[in-house]
Assembly symmetry: C2
Homo-oligomer: 223 residues x 2
DNA sequence: GATACTATTTAGAATAATCTAAAAAAAATA
DNA sequence: TATTTTTTTTAGATTATTCTAAATAGTATC
């Protein structure tokens, strides 16, 4: 599987380096990468040498690796594909949030720019995946939105539900009954010291109260 | 890529053996397979030895290979996936008939029974792919329909358009103007000796005449 | 039936990705 | 700083797939 330029395995390593390196800015250690990739430090060492030659990571022996501009580009393309496929699986094929990852891990390696642009169009150019993570556009740009649980939003702030942390049927039913779904806009009216429940105002101007447990699992983007 | 049982490469060989072996019933020669797989006879020889050990093909040195029941099962699963994805690409993502093969070659190897059953449902359980080839069900059964050009259908026979052999924009525009599309039912009323054109009767009882060129490229299933 | 030609298989080597065990470097500790 | 511990790298193998070149089997021809 080399057709395009990078093998599935290489793409996964690039993604992992990007992911870990972007989290804390520091170079990624061999062990951290081995852990992420579920493999041995020796294998990682070999692979980093190769990826360094291919200019997708910066790597110095014993000093760890960081992502290069070229590597970042590749990583973001793979991430874009991963997240678009997740949207497809959830929105169109009725998968649950927690069932999509494994399949998307496979689909993200399909090579076809046309397929991805058509899929993007078909899905209505979604900006976030079902977990609320932003989807990079063709150029690798994405809106970095801070995704936080409803429970930490300040009183008076407006926000929009972009994901849930719990995808149990029970929770989904609860949300349905409350009239809340992905995309719902709301404003926090009050927080009840007593039990931690939160009063919110929905788009239709209806006011409801959600439990602390629900507020913990409702991920929102504040305006 | 061994997760499930067979690698991408192995699946492709199995598909090729099934395909060639089913065409004429005779064992497939090493060279024929090498030709189909765009590789060397030596590679095929090695692979056949392996696939024989894995019981997916029957193979005797110098005597060629044929598909085993286990191999057939695998081949049909891959073919099912390939054709369902082709339907998705054409029906949902607006690909042309001739743009789908390469992408479907990749998608057919994605491992997820749930994905395929959901996709099948999403597409409305299609029986044929955009080229008019039948799609096997989960058990590997498929309606074998003889797909023939409209030009050979006898006068008086009824049939249904299931595919086209030419997917040029020009032809598609022509069909559109004539009110013909995949699924259109029609009856052959007469054939004009003079120029080979054919008079047909459509569902709405309208009678039209199609050119011999069009009749050649319209693939139909006779009732 | 012997010879020539073609098809197929084997031998040996290459690349990609992986592993275990041993060596070397870096970090932690005393 | 010297020593111990941890991390990382290298060395040497292994599996999967492929290739070229050489050997062998099968088929065709005279």
């Amino acid at each position: 599987m080399i057709e395009n330029g990078f093998s599935f395995v290489e793409e996964n390593y690039i993604k992992a380096v990007y992911h870990l390196n972007t989290q804390d800015g520091k170079p990624v250690s061999t062990n951290a990468l081995a852990d992420e990739m579920q493999t041995t430090a020796a294998s990682v060492s070999d692979m980093l040498k190769k990826l360094s030659q291919k200019k997708v990571v910066f790597y110095q022996k014993y000093k760890g690796a960081s992502i290069s501009p070229k590597g970042k580009e590749i990583a973001l393309k793979v991430i874009r594909k991963h997240r678009l496929w997740e949207v497809f699986l959830v929105d169109q094929l009725k998968f649950n949030w927690d069932e999509v990852h494994e399949v998307a891990e496979q689909l993200e390696h399909i090579k076809s720019p046309l397929l991805i642009s058509r899929l993007d169009e078909f899905l209505g150019y979604p900006k976030y995946d079902p977990h609320g993570d932003p989807i990079p556009d063709e150029d690798g740009n994405f809106a970095q939105v801070k995704k936080e649980p409803l429970s930490v939003v300040e009183i008076g702030s407006s926000c929009q539900v972009i994901a849930v942390d719990d995808s149990s049927t029970a929770f989904l039913k609860y949300l349905d009954k409350m009239g809340i779904s992905i995309g719902t806009k709301l404003r926090v009216e009050d927080k009840n010291e007593f039990d931690g429940s939160i009063d919110i105002n929905l788009e239709n101007d209806k006011s409801i109260t959600v439990s602390p447990r629900a507020a913990e699992n409702l991920l929102v983007a504040t305006d």
